[in-house]
Symmetry: C2
DNA sequence: ACCTGAACACCGTTCAAGT
DNA sequence: ACCTGAACACCGTTCAAGT
């Protein structure tokens, strides 16, 4: 009834993908700081050192986890070649959704250079869509970066603000005495305004990208 | 000739500030991952555990290091009340300069909520300058966040791209076969274009902030 | 009040050994 | 080929003790 030898609990065989997925699940549940080679092994029912047969070390494992996050960005369907702004809008929301689903793991993505296998696939599609809109390579790279700056900054602020308890010092009268502007600003720097501000900034950015020259000068 | 007891090497007395500065220097030199309570103690000539008399733990120490970075943001002089866009521009470049000076420590700042003592002082001045430009509190908070999203995203990309060696996969023919757009994009995603893209995006953002309504609707 | 030193329960990683 | 188990050089933190 089982393909495992008698006396052993059946478990799926180890693989880079299975290990990386287990690590991501642990980070989602317990946080990045709690992840260790030993906890990963424990979750998979093997000794910690078995992981080293599939990854060069912890850094290599975390690279793979970051690549899983990139692969999770849902690439929208391009309705029509001139619908590329709508495509960018959907990509932006899909990217933010990854951060919302994995707030504890997202910094792995935001702090790494975007050059993993899944990132290459993403960039190829991004380049294809913007080429269809008439952009040359330098301007496509610029649009990609401006969007990336915004999305990473917004997602990290989202995570920091939702993750931190009520702004400690803002309840402290001593911090607010002689600080009238801080006192007025405080109520508007909480989590309640994050969604609206994200959409506002994104639409401004998309509108600006839409009017970008398609070819770089020179 | 020394105020230390004979047989002991003179050293400045420990303080929260001295410890945090030593920790920042170690991070700048060896990286965040190498920082430990023991290496901090060693750098200061004390046992590691002496640090616990001034900080509740490592997290508390890293909060203090992040606050040092906030305090390093050079607040420009406001030449005239209507010069506030120039003031924002100078603040943005000062913020980026902190990331450039402390690439290894900067993630501590970007991943934390902006609510340390130095951050409160910064926000008070920010609120004052934008109030002088006619912004109400909700719009000031929105401008602050949009600028923050952009600056953090840009700085982290800067650090990731300058810190990572040549995009590994982009030299690999296998990754580029059947990926014409990636092949075209690659040369424009290196460090050479970072400065120009940062300034371009910042000027676009400042131009948009300049035309923002001063009061939030409702 | 401020610092030391031993101890505890962990880490990442190396290595020799098992199957 | 894949995994185990002991070992090494570290961690953050607690605690009792020194001065």
């Amino acid at each position: 009834m089982t393909n495992a030898p008698a006396g052993r609990v059946a478990r799926p065989p180890l693989s880079r993908d299975a290990i990386a997925r287990a690590a991501l699940a642990l980070i989602d549940r317990d946080g990045l700081a709690q992840l260790s080679m030993r906890t990963v092994g424990r979750a998979l029912g093997v000794e910690a050192m078995a992981v080293y047969h599939h990854f060069a070390g912890k850094a290599d494992l975390l690279d793979a986890v970051a690549d899983l996050l990139v692969a999770e960005i849902e690439l929208p369907h391009l309705e029509a070649p001139d619908h590329w702004i709508g495509w960018l809008r959907a990509v932006a929301h899909a990217y933010r959704a990854v951060a919302t689903r994995h707030p504890q793991a997202f910094p792995l993505l935001a702090l790494r250079r975007f050059n993993s296998p899944a990132a290459f696939a993403f960039l190829e599609r991004f380049g294809e869509v913007l080429a269809g809109a008439g952009f040359d390579a330098p301007m496509t790279a610029r649009a990609f970066r401006l969007l990336g700056f915004y999305l990473n900054g917004a997602a990290l602020a989202d995570i920091a603000i939702r993750g931190a308890p009520a702004p400690a010092g803002l309840d402290d009268p001593a911090a607010l005495a002689d600080r009238p502007h801080l006192r007025a600003l405080g109520p508007h720097l909480g989590p309640a305004t994050l969604d609206a501000t994200f959409v506002f900034g994104l639409e401004e950015l998309l509108a600006r990208i839409a009017t970008l020259p398609r070819a770089s000068p020179g």
